[in-house]
């Protein structure tokens, strides 16, 4: 083996093997084996990914053509992998964080019976496999295969506890909403095929191909692609599945619904930057959507009481930030934020899992409080995560978020203002969450308090690792203004192109300063508001709107689901049964009726028969002579 790039196919294959082994052997494998094996394959994939990353860093990129997936005269789709800067970076995130979460899961899911435990790991492995396909895919179709695959795994894992109807409903909702997005993605692919006849990145993003496309084509394709991204990455209008998806086991939320899958949309847009850069209108749409999502989700998060729901809305909000970056042409910043967000959000989800684990399944933060003294590792690492997401200087989130804000400012200052407001809300609700959970006094039951304990090391070690990453992760992208050389931007340059904006350092300092100060103020406000939290009354007014998440679910239900259902009902009962089938049966009835009526001609009377014969004869004469 001369070059690890020749065996990149092994990276997705390993989790697939894990899936097959765990899936087929779920009845025979003991828990330790399935957990271990499930983690091992991801670790192996991670190690390979590291080797791959090193190769890429040395400037080698690679496209591995495995076999022809579909080959007809007018279209050739290979099953091929592309390894470049962007995908290798994502490989690291997926396999790395994936591995940590696998390890974490071995402890978190330990109470499950063996077959379910193995099933869980099988699903996780399958997810990793799909996600790897998604990022490694050398053309849009392979990406789409992974794209749907992760949707499927998300569905399976959200509905992991399939006996609860709410959970399976959430799973279904996730899948269907993803499918809506997927349809957009697919249509975009078809559009590209119709116009260019190709799907592989090298061809479609080449200048020659782009020249063939009209501006309308590009706008249409990118809008459709973006529709796909909104589904997968939970943006307006398709974001509502993500908070519901918290029904799944917490490590799943960490892996799928925070660190990896939901960033697929960002990956896709970044991957297709060549197209998006040409579509100004789409860019605007993306930026506005991202911004709106960031604001909306942040506002909802303020009034959520389920620990995971808060994190979920936070994820939606952060994804909004990433799209804002994409919309402003700041692809590197988006990817950068994906990376840091993966660290700190995974960390916080895992932390919340640890809390839930300790609380015996309780997720309502109003019933928590003062957990710090019981579970110090969780508390501290969670706090680090909060600092990172809030954008406190020095932590990873600061660098990535600052870059997004700076880019936004360069693009449009009013957007910057709104984005900053969203960032303030982020700091506010994160610290609300932290304060309510870890500080103050315990508000749960006696029994729960007795039971409080720090989680086992299989859970805390990943927390610590992620906490470290949350701190240092930002240093790969120190902006020039802070004296750095932004290693990440340089690394990604071949894959995502130049960063679009150039602010002078003075402006950047000012922006950083303003945002840091305001964030601190916001944290302080949260501290004063919640440090001595007591159960409160039913909220009213605007707060109630927030508690009920702007009534978006209700709106969708009333505006889309119910009408479609009633139309379907009309189809079923009226058009199908009475209309079409009624018509068909009506012919039968008409024949029957005609038979019954004609029967009366056969009166039994000879006179009548002859009369009819005479009349018939008369008719024949008339026809012959007069017609």
């Amino acid at each position: 083996m001369n070059n690890v790039l020749d065996i990149v196919w092994l990276i997705p294959l390993l989790p697939l093997i894990g899936f097959l082994v765990n899936g087929m052997g779920r009845k025979v494998l003991p828990k330790s084996v399935s957990g271990f094996f499930g983690s091992l394959v991801v670790l192996a994939a991670f190690l390979l990914s590291c080797l791959v990353f090193i190769q890429v860093k040395n400037g080698q990129t690679h496209t591995a053509h495995l076999f022809d997936f579909i080959r007809i005269d007018s279209l050739k789709i290979g099953f091929e992998f592309t390894i470049d800067q962007l995908s290798s970076l994502f490989l690291l995130i997926i396999t790395g964080i994936g591995f940590l979460i696998h390890v974490y899961s071995t402890a978190y899911m330990h109470d499950e019976p063996a077959p379910d435990f193995a099933k869980y790991f099988a699903y996780l492995n399958l997810f990793v496999f799909s996600m790897l396909l998604l990022v490694m895919g050398g053309n849009l179709v392979v990406m789409f295969i992974g794209w749907e695959g992760v949707g499927l795994c998300s569905y399976l894992l959200i509905g992991y506890w399939f006996k609860k109807n709410d959970y399976t409903n959430a799973a279904k909702k996730a899948f269907v909403m993803n499918r809506i997005g997927d349809l957009g993605f697919l249509l975009a692919i078809f559009w590209l095929i119709a116009k260019t006849g190709h799907v592989d990145y090298q061809t479609i993003f080449s200048q020659a191909t782009l020249d063939k496309l009209s501006q309308a084509d590009i706008t249409g394709i990118t809008l459709l692609l973006f529709l796909g991204a909104t589904g997968k990455s939970a943006q307006i209008p398709l974001y509502t599945w993500l908070p519901d998806a918290m029904a799944g086991p917490t490590p799943v939320s960490a892996l799928i619904h925070a660190a990896t899958m939901v960033t697929a949309g960002i990956y896709m847009v970044a991957r297709s930057h060549a197209l998006f850069s040409l579509a100004e209108f789409t860019q605007t749409i993306i930026a506005i959507t991202g911004l709106a999502t960031a604001l909306l989700a942040a506002s909802i998060a303020i009034r959520q009481n389920d620990i995971k729901k808060v994190l979920a809305y936070s994820t939606v909000s952060q994804l909004g930030f990433m799209f804002l970056a994409l919309g402003t042409g700041n692809y590197v910043a988006a990817v950068f934020h994906v990376l840091t967000h993966a660290f700190f959000k995974a960390l916080m989800f895992l932390g919340s899992g640890s809390v839930i684990h300790a609380m015996g399944g309780e997720q309502d933060i109003r019933k928590m409080g003062g957990l710090h003294k019981h579970m110090k590792v969780t508390s501290i690492t969670f706090f680090i995560g909060c600092l990172a997401i809030a954008g406190i200087p020095g932590f990873s989130g600061f660098f990535s978020k600052d870059e997004i804000l700076a880019g936004t400012y360069a693009h449009a200052p009013w957007m910057f203002a709104l984005a900053l407001f969203a960032a303030l809300m982020t700091a506010f609700y994160m610290f609300r969450l932290y304060i309510l959970t870890f500080t103050g006094t315990f508000r749960g039951s006696e029994e729960q308090e007795q039971h409080l304990h720090e989680s086992p090391s299989a859970m805390t070690i990943p927390l610590v690792v992620l906490a470290v990453l949350s701190v240092v992760g930002g240093y790969i992208g120190i902006p020039a203004a802070l004296g750095g050389n932004h290693w990440l931007a340089a690394f990604l340059k071949p894959a995502t192109g130049e960063v679009a904006h150039h602010l002078d350092h003075g402006t950047e300092y000012a922006l950083m300063g303003i945002s840091t100060l305001l964030v601190l103020a916001s944290i302080g406000f949260a501290w004063f508001k919640f440090k001595s939290y007591q159960a409160e009354d039913e909220p009213t007014g605007f707060a109630k709107i927030l508690v009920y998440k702007w009534y978006v679910d209700e709106f969708y239900d009333a505006a889309i689901v119910k009408p479609i259902r009633s139309v379907s009902g009309i189809f079923d009962r009226l058009i199908e049964k009475k209309g079409i089938d009624g018509f068909v049966n009506g012919i039968g009835r008409a024949v029957n009726y005609g038979g019954r009526q004609l029967r009366w001609l056969q009166s039994g009377q000879v006179g009548a028969y002859i009369l009819l014969m005479v009349i018939g004869m008369l008719l024949l004469f008339i026809i012959q002579f007069y017609l």
Partner: protein, 110 residues
């Protein structure tokens, strides 16, 4: 006489027979009406035979007139046979039902 007159006469008799069939319910009278129709046919055949005999056809086919009259003869033969069978049927029916009213014959219908 113009052949048309015979055609008209024959048709009138034929129609009288037909109307009789439609009007009457007595099987025997209906049967007699049929005989009237046959006679109308016979008359017309004979008239046509005469027409052909004096026309062009006789030159090519000398038997043209007697052919038709033999036909009439056969019609009479057939009529005689029919009458014997028909009256037998009517008598049989009368024996079973003591009626020859065709309107009572409606066990078979629909």
């Amino acid at each position: 006489m113009d052949i048309k007159a015979y055609i008209a006469l024959s048709l009138v008799l034929f129609s009288i027979g037909m109307v009789g069939i439609l009007m009457r319910r007595n099987a025997i009278i209906i049967f007699m009406c049929v005989e009237l129709m046959l006679n109308a046919v016979n008359l017309l055949l004979v008239a046509f035979s005469k027409m052909h005999a004096v026309g062009e056809a006789a030159k090519a086919l000398p038997t043209v007139a007697s052919d038709a009259q033999i036909f009439v003869f056969f019609i009479m033969v057939v009529a005689a046979a029919e009458v014997s069978v028909g009256l037998a049927i009517i008598v049989m029916l009368y024996r079973n039902t003591h009626s020859i009213d065709v309107n009572f014959l409606n066990r078979l219908k629909n």
